[in-house]
Symmetry: C2
Subunit: 432 residues, 2 copies
């Protein structure tokens, strides 16, 4: 994707940047530390088109089930879309492995928020992240939701104030994340049928480890003010997630709670017409959504537990798209590749070994590998390279591993992070 | 498998325990340290039936290609068997990613050993383990092979002396292994058609990390004195490897050099008849071979790089054998499960998450999980357990994770080890 003056990325953007949305984070009481924000509420001024993608893990948490119902998902993996007015996310407790009581608590959460906001319960989407096996308490919502709505009221007519508040929402969904992750992309309606209008796609996400017990799961909330019908929003979201969040791996686990919501208010062009697939407007929206989702996904990978480096694995020249994906994913998941990057070791042999077991079809005599822009393997054979120069390049925050299998035309990119002593400390010392 | 008095395991057994074989390790010069053994030679008194299984990695090393040729393998994954007189293994250099020169060096190694032993080059099997991308030097073989043969001559007529020498071979193939891995199983010919005869299956292996740059790959050499034709030996070996070495994962990598050789001299019953599938004799041999291979595989898993605990993952109640294998393998490969064991954390949520993304079909409401014999999850829900008792049980060297999916009748067991700070140190600090 090339940059274009009509697309502007704002690193301060968030789920309240698009017209028609408020977002606030509060300390509701899921966590003991009163300084720690632990509940985010996103509310649309009016009912919105909504869509989502969810974890494919068989062990899925109660809020995932309830949000799937509210978005009329036909079954795991099928499109999920409908109408929504609010999204509530708590951190601290995942409400996973909680059985019928968990489902009931997730439903009661939606009811409680619906009553407070003034919408039906099935227009409320819910997500949770934190420790599994513990039951979600409702009392914190009973305190936190009114507090969040009161805060929103103070900035109701002030877009800058709303955006500023939105930053607190991004902090409230963090678990082992070391920084909040948010942003927005704006683009002009000129030339795509909406002269003089500026459209915005904003959002927030959390990631880090990827899994229990702290449920360092992926949760993203994206909002936009484009006018679009829910099925078309679902199509755009699924495409964007496949290019971004689904290309991130921190420790090869997909979590029980992974969720990405998108809400579209249409408030930037309330008189429409709606963006529809195949039009320049839809293409522009897809591009903005892709850019935002990719930016958030890279932030997630770079902030993996204990990470010191973002690793970008690109495989080109694969026979099929599935081969490209399998090859890039296997390299990105290899503990040996990840520890080598941690050790600043341009160890292409570990990359080669991962490629070789990935299932992708190629001949070892054809493979080229570059690490940090240095050719380290050509035609399957070792290439002498300047180790001093490699060590210098390892000082950069991002490490590029580039592979050409010379077996076809397909390519894929995955993002991950290195594997550090700190990762073992975080995940080995969590409870004991 | 239940124990039986006619099957005796000897922890001091090795590749020289069966009648008709010598095995010796020497310092040939692949490594700089003159104290470090770095070449193992196994020689049969007469040409033997031989079989092997090899890595499925697309990047396979030159010695793997040459040994495949010598055992007439029709293609990766098809049966490999034939006739062999000797096996030579060097540690220190893997001869992987070395192109045509590497193939030539592997062939010259076989020729050199053949001339010294007095057999055709294609009756010599070769394996290498160590750094990749470096060319194998032949000079160490030119010194080491005669030295090994001279040592063997001193114990030619002395089985106890041969067996004692065999221990040096097990040490010579080590890379990051912290201990040599070997053993033998003997069984009586009484009741299976060979009254008064004792048969022995012995062997050695090396494992540890699993991969480059130190090629901590899996190499095993098994010898036996049963009379058996090469195709039948291949069948038995493939079955044993699938139950043992193929159920071990240290860091989810299969290496470029993974190799398991088996040689059968028939020397315990030189007048035959040969063991054939479907007979009690063949079943007894299979059982002994399975026991030896499983014991060696467990030693390999327990000695994974940086390991502090052996982890045994057993999945029962799977709908299919593939589901059972996928579920057990995904749990065993999960860095989060492995760091939890390192942290002595009976964290069944991470086990559940791995099961959920394994592709195995089950309902989360049906799943039971025990860790170290303690029920920690029943019907997909958390079970209160005595955390103090769990911590006490984590002091044991082996950690059992047992799952029942209640989705069918199939089961699978995998072995792995925990993921420690030391693993990151070994693999992150290897070269830089």
């Amino acid at each position: 994707m090339t940059e274009n003056d009509t697309f502007a990325f704002d690193p301060e953007g968030n789920a309240a940047s698009a017209l028609g949305f408020s977002a606030v984070g509060v300390h509701a009481g899921f966590r003991a530390d009163p300084e720690r924000l632990d509940m985010a509420l996103v509310v649309a001024d009016e009912p919105c088109a909504a869509a989502a993608t969810f974890t494919t893990n068989v062990f899925c948490a109660a809020p995932v089930r309830v949000s799937r119902e509210h978005l009329n998902e036909g079954g795991a993996g099928s499109p999920a879309y409908g109408c929504a007015r609010a999204v509530v996310v708590n951190s601290g407790i995942a409400n996973a492995a909680t059985g019928e009581i968990g489902l009931e608590n997730a439903r009661k959460t939606a009811e409680l928020v619906g009553v407070a906001v003034g919408c039906p319960a099935d227009e409320v989407l819910v997500a949770s992240t934190g420790v599994i096996g513990q039951h979600l308490r409702l009392a914190p919502f009973a305190e936190g939701v009114p507090a969040a709505l009161a805060a929103m009221a103070t900035a109701a007519d002030d877009l800058a104030g709303r955006t500023s508040q939105g930053l607190t929402a991004a902090r409230a969904i963090m678990t082992t994340d070391t920084c909040p992750k948010h942003g927005s992309v704006s683009f002009s309606g000129d030339g795509i049928g909406y002269p003089g209008v500026t459209f915005t796609v904003g959002g927030m996400c959390k990631g880090a480890g990827m899994i229990m017990p702290n449920m360092a799961t992926m949760i993203a909330v994206i909002t936009t003010d484009v006018p679009i019908a829910a099925p078309d929003l679902s199509q755009a979201l699924t495409a964007a997630v496949n290019k971004s969040f689904n290309k991130v791996t921190v420790d090869s686990d997909t979590s029980t709670n992974d969720t990405c919501f998108a809400l579209a208010s249409g408030a930037a062009a309330p008189d429409g017409p709606a963006f529809t697939p195949g039009t320049p407007a839809f293409d522009a929206f897809q591009r903005a959504l892709d850019q935002l989702a990719t930016t958030l996904a890279r932030k997630m990978a770079a902030d993996g537990e204990g990470a010191t480096r973002l690793i970008t694995v690109t495989v080109r020249g694969a026979a099929t798209a599935d081969d490209a994906d399998a090859a890039a994913r296997t390299v990105a998941n290899s503990p040996l590749v990840k520890t080598a990057v941690y050790g600043h070791d341009a160890n292409w042999g570990r990359v080669a070994a991962a490629l070789g077991r990935s299932g992708a079809r190629f001949n070892q005599e054809d493979v080229d590998i570059d690490i940090l822009g240095l050719p380290v393997c050509r035609a399957g054979l070792v290439v002498d390279f300047d180790e001093e120069e490699a060590l210098r390049r390892f000082e950069e925050p991002e490490v590029a591993i580039e592979v050409d299998l010379h077996a076809g035309e397909e390519s894929a990119t995955m993002w991950t992070c290195d594997f550090s002593h700190e990762y073992v400390t975080i995940n080995g010392d969590y409870r004991s």
